[in-house]
């Protein structure tokens, strides 16, 4: 099942059930007008939404065409957005880039940060650049939407709490990071609003590509028309989503609609490219002594998509496709 949220002037939008090809959809039943309401009441909402999805497949339910420009993030505002950094190749490269060591517990203790969740960007929303000196970067990620997660949940039970899978562009202001992390309290100003893929899909929709708490697909990052990265999101995700859930739930519980990210998808094989500019700049520094790729400027375009190896050409989550615009250009 594939879900999306249509902008309708309300804060949470209108929940849509989307046809498998992503081109058309039908509204959710009135009892679950928004994705958050459906997640709040998933045991009842899921079968009702699946009935609509089945009706769309059989052609018994009328659909209307979906314009991705009218979609918001599947959850336009969420109760939590927690982002891991589970691809160790990314951690090592990015810390090298800012002259920092990876933590001693890199392979045993997941890195995560609590992100801002009140204002999420849709898949076609422009990214406002307020100051080019802040060093705007994209980060292509996989994420999951959780149901209610009790405190103390173990990795072995975490699959029960994963409702949906989607992609994210975790925009980052690289040049604000060193001063912010030096203060010791983690990211804040260096993480502006995150964007999400048009569609959030149930794990079963991914077939064999969803296994072991990982998405076994390539995540492709196309920057100004050139493919900068086509990275496998599966095997090198050192901590699976299941392990990340266990880490989260050690000291508190989580409410339905919490979003959990993988961190930037990253492969050790350089032929796969990169899922953010910081990694590319670090590789340039290693190979050529200094970075030659600048951070993002007004007019740049970033497209993020996932490709199922079993169905080339398919776009299960739809594409994140954002342009960088000057501050104030969208207001």
């Amino acid at each position: 099942m594939k879900l999306a949220t249509l902008r309708d002037g309300s804060r949470d939008g209108q929940l849509l059930v989307v046809r498998r090809d992503g081109e058309a959809g039908a509204p959710a039943p009135a009892a679950w007008p928004t994705l958050q309401r459906a997640l709040d009441d998933w045991a009842a909402a899921e079968p009702a939404l699946r009935a609509i999805s089945d009706g769309i497949d059989r052609g018994t339910i009328e659909t209307t065409a979906i314009d991705p420009h009218r979609l918001s993030a599947p959850l336009p505002r969420a109760y939590e957005w927690i982002d891991g950094s589970a691809f160790l190749n990314h951690v090592i490269l990015v810390r090298k880039a800012r002259g920092a060591q990876p933590p001693a517990t890199l392979e045993t203790d997941p890195l995560i940060y609590q992100g801002g969740s009140g204002d999420m960007m849709g898949p076609r929303d422009p990214i406002e650049l307020h100051d080019p000196a802040w060093g705007l970067d994209y980060e292509s990620e996989v994420c999951v939407v959780l149901g209610d997660v009790p405190v103390g949940t173990l990795a072995a039970d975490a699959h029960r709490h994963i409702r949906l899978v989607m992609l994210a562009n975790d925009c980052t202001l690289r040049n604000l990071i060193p001063d912010e992390l030096a203060k010791g309290f983690g990211f804040f100003q260096s993480k502006p609003a995150t964007a999400f893929s048009p569609f959030a899909v149930t794990p079963d929709e991914l077939g064999d590509a969803w296994r072991g708490g990982r998405l076994h697909m390539r995540v492709r990052s196309t920057y100004n028309g050139g493919v900068l990265g086509d990275c496998d999101a599966g095997p090198e995700m050192h901590f699976s989503f299941f392990e990340l859930v266990q880490h989260l739930a050690r000291t508190r519980r989580f409410t339905a609609g919490t979003i959990l990210g993988s961190g930037t998808v990253s492969n050790a094989d350089r032929a796969r490219g990169v899922s953010c500019l910081a990694e590319r700049r670090m590789i340039e520094t290693i190979e050529q002594g200094k970075p030659s790729t600048p951070f993002m400027v007004v007019g740049d375009r970033i497209q993020i998509d996932a490709v199922d190896p079993a169905a080339p050409g398919s776009s299960v989550f739809g594409m994140i496709d954002q342009r960088v615009v000057a501050a104030g250009a969208t207001s």
Copy 2:
């Protein structure tokens, strides 16, 4: 105007308008059944809620008694919970306690962290202690609930976006902090769910005690029946809530219902006591060579209240009154 949320089995509870003495209240109009819904639509909701408040004052609206045990946090789940650390005396003492230096920009660049906001505790909710070795501590704080805050909001305009004021107990697991902060991404497991005062009040309800973006009242922390702290929340809040809002909004906007905390209320005058055990332990270390106050154990009780100097004996926010219980005791 004074607001509270009654537990009614739903995720967001029932919004109540509370009588000035905090002893009774009446339900909000059906158009705004929850505090979040009222904040979403504040321009329309505020006058309607004030009309009820006025009717309660005049005795023309029927009220029912309020049992604080039946109240949840004013926002049982919120879209963001951002906590500052604006009392520099606290920053200096607590960092000293863990052998860390205060950041070089202590007086010019506010310290804030993004907290978990999906699961907030009510004023009487027990605190489950899963492992005494984690070093459970309370932190008595003042916080504000924001309306929609545009990106780039300046301190001079921030007063327009402050809807409500309340108190918080930002529970902290002290012994998990050093390893977590060493990883560089800020707090996560070391910050379990935060508890809030029974009542959230509009700034005008505070009269002269709310000025310059600070609450000029004493916040009293009573631990196992003894007053451990009676600290002034006003003058020593180095960064006002207005300045904190400017800091937040530098690179992104915030949605209505975002909660912003002051950090632990702390005074340089030791006669005022402390608003968390970590400070007391540090003072003991300075004075006696080692801490003698242990962290919290099962059976402990923490009460947090604010006292208006103009109205001794009043309890404008109601009291946070929590007991520490063994893990699983509440389920």
